[in-house]
Subunit: 452 residues, 2 copies
């Protein structure tokens, strides 16, 4: 592919800010720069902004992908100075001040904002990624949904009780908010939604394991809320295993603290690492791949380059790096947008960023969520209602708010879920043939008990 | 895979009816047999029933797949005598009275109902299927949606006016209801939904071609309604080309009546053929692959085997085979279910089926639809409202009705569409890299006009 400038807007005397990534941070930065006399180009490899906090609801068959994804162009179309490029970034040529795309074309910048987020880290076991998808992309969520539902179909057809038991076991690795939310939602799916739809198996007997290597789940929350979440999960039917490191993940199960547990569905929520933006610059990153940034979110040694969100390590007031939360990225994006405007148009110095926590939350299941506002804590029904209101409010677009609210009310009233689809991208080994055994090395189906 | 009986229900003295396919016909038959003293097993390769009449709305970014797909188990779970098997049928061993699945397992039957529907026919050009998907599956619809949206992204990035023009051209082959609905919906998408979201291109200048080999579109409707549809389509911006056979389809365009027209998106709606159920039995089919059935929907020479819907050729009152419509399949399913019950439980003879047309309809776009009730005809706004009411009413599940209604009202009020996602299953050549040229043999991007 030849050497093409992909900038949508014509070159003129305005300064040009290029933002890579249209997640919470990148979008907030672009919006803050919207309507100013600065040229802004947002580059993302997807055409949509994904509301990842609700991705577990796609994976567990409540919501459709489109309910939590809004076209980036649509969100930014009101700002004539902001353009969108759909493209995969391959690197940054800071000498030439260019972002290089996968096809060899480029986007030149005056200021660069790296807001590329994080990916799941498998602690050196990259082969686990295929077996135990995380909760980062629509494709991940569809894969988990297909696998989960397919396991029940296969269990219904199986004549081998051991295999049925394996297929009806889901293991969620990692006891953070995503793991807790996913495990709770899978348990409700099996106990209620699927309960009466099968003849030979009873989905209510399925097992959901939440495995955490550390001493407690929701480690970033106060102990009191961890304990509450553990009790609530137990009541939903989730077996919480803390202090149990995962040693191996195979297509047919997980080895946890020396014991192999056969499972049909395995979901990963154990650790994240920064996206490879650090590598593009060639800066030294921390162990999680994060770029160390100055308090004004600039990358030391790279004049005019800034980074934010999950892709950076910026110490908070307590000296520890700020957590990888949507609200951190969002506040940083808003801050950086305003600071860049002041700097580029009025020559003001870049201001340091300061994080103001709005509170930390996780949902466990029906009528149960936790909030940590620092001094105050909230749990139970009220926390759950608050969680729902906040998440609907934070969705981009009025239509999505209505659709998600509707589907939640529907699920609340009926225990049914509207998106129980096994579509054909469900990967092998689970869906090659609909009746294939759970993994290559497991026993083939046997006609142990004849029918009747 | 060993020789396993997949029947979910235990064998007992009840007769066993096996239905292959959970489309309109198969589901109607299963429901009619629901609650009777007959064992019923429904086999489908998907876990959901798909409301195909609205699939074009998934392909054109209004609805999500889950809005028009309901789990088969969910629909039938109220009937304890009806079981569901998720499986791909490979053949029928009528000597042994067994349906054979792809993995070698089987389901034995006393009576067999083949309700496997139709697939798109490319008139011997099977290689066209990848380039020009039809409108039969969720995967098809997602593919078309991704391609359509990706073309505009690529056009925005292109610097070559000829290539932009090609990318902004969509060709719909076949002027039947599906073709008309798809072309109208694409035109509205480009004229309204996408209109203001791009900077370098104006989506309103895109071309939508509806190509029909015969003398008029909507050939199964009265001429008056064809004319109306053609005028309405023209007003929406669709170029209707009748009497123009498609000679070749390539990844970069279509040759129509000797002229090659470059296009980014090509949709096929030109012809269908029956699914391969006829081949399973080894019966001689008609040219469209349909099984000739007796008036009672039995397959001559195969005692206890029945077939219905798009997969059969049954002459109507006028002697011509009944059309491949959902209502035909549905009425046949209901009839066959009732007839099988009467025959199996009360020894009554199988009754002949008689079709009662409820009218034929097609939607063209906003405020424009046509109805043909035989003696009466309806077109315009009222037809459009009636179309919407009927389609919402026919959806399975209250939640889906609400969701689809909501999204239609939203689109009507705002011209916006909620499902504008390019997801990663969008196939090459369009999505390999986001800025790849439209096809391998087209010219690479050139930096013809420098930016600025």
């Amino acid at each position: 592919m030849p050497d093409i400038d992909r900038t949508p807007a014509p070159v003129d005397s305005r300064p040009h800010v290029v933002i890579v990534g249209a997640g919470f941070g990148g979008l907030a930065c672009a919006s803050a720069l919207g309507g100013t006399n600065i040229r802004v180009t947002v580059i993302d490899r997807n055409n949509y902004h994904l509301f990842t906090p609700l991705l577990y609801e796609v994976a567990t068959a409540t919501l459709s992908p489109a309910d939590i994804a809004e076209p980036i162009r649509r969100i930014l179309s009101r700002y004539p100075n902001v353009d969108v490029v759909l493209g995969e970034v391959r690197g940054v040529d800071h000498g030439a001040r260019k972002v290089v795309l996968a096809d060899g074309s480029f986007v030149p910048y005056d200021r660069l904002v790296l807001a590329t987020g994080s990916v799941y880290s498998y602690f050196g076991h990259d082969d686990w990624a295929k077996i135990a998808p995380g909760m980062k992309t629509i494709e991940n969520a569809r894969q988990i949904r297909g696998r989960l539902l397919m396991c029940f179909e296969q269990a219904e057809m199986s004549r081998d009780p051991a295999q049925q038991r394996a297929l009806m076991t889901a293991i969620v690795v990692g006891g953070g908010p995503t793991g807790v939310e996913t495990a709770g939602s899978i348990a409700e799916l099996t106990r209620h939604t699927l309960a009466r739809d099968f003849r030979r198996i009873d989905p209510r007997l399925s097992r959901v394991l939440l495995v955490e290597a550390g001493p407690r789940i929701l480690a970033s929350f106060p102990e009191e809320l961890s304990g509450y979440a553990e009790r609530k999960l137990a009541r939903l039917g989730v077996t919480v295993m803390t202090g149990k490191p995962v040693e191996e993940i195979r297509p047919d199960g997980v080895t946890i603290a020396g014991e192999f547990i056969p499972a049909g569905t395995i979901v990963w929520g154990a650790g994240v690492k920064a996206s490879p933006a650090g590598g593009w610059l060639g800066v030294e990153t921390d162990r999680a791949g994060r770029i160390p940034v100055a308090p004004d979110l600039s990358v030391p040694g790279f004049e005019g380059v800034h980074a934010l969100g999950d892709t950076v390590a910026l110490p908070g007031d307590d000296g520890a790096p700020l957590p990888g939360l949507a609200q951190v990225a969002k506040q940083q994006g808003e801050h950086l947008g305003a600071a860049l405007e002041a700097n580029l148009l009025r020559g003001e110095a870049m201001r340091p960023f300061r994080y103001r926590s709005r509170g930390n939350t996780a949902i466990i299941g029906r009528n149960a969520a936790v909030f940590d506002f620092g001094k105050r804590r909230l749990k139970g029904w009220l926390a759950w209602v608050l969680w729902a209101f906040i998440h609907v409010y934070l969705l981009v677009g009025f239509q999505k708010r209505i659709l998600v609210t509707m589907q939640w009310l529907w699920r609340y009233a009926t225990y049914q879920r509207g998106a129980r689809l096994i579509t054909q991208e469900t990967p092998a080994p689970f869906a090659k043939t609909t009746a294939s055994p759970v993994a290559e090395d497991s026993q083939p189906f046997e006609r142990r008990r004849s029918v009747g």
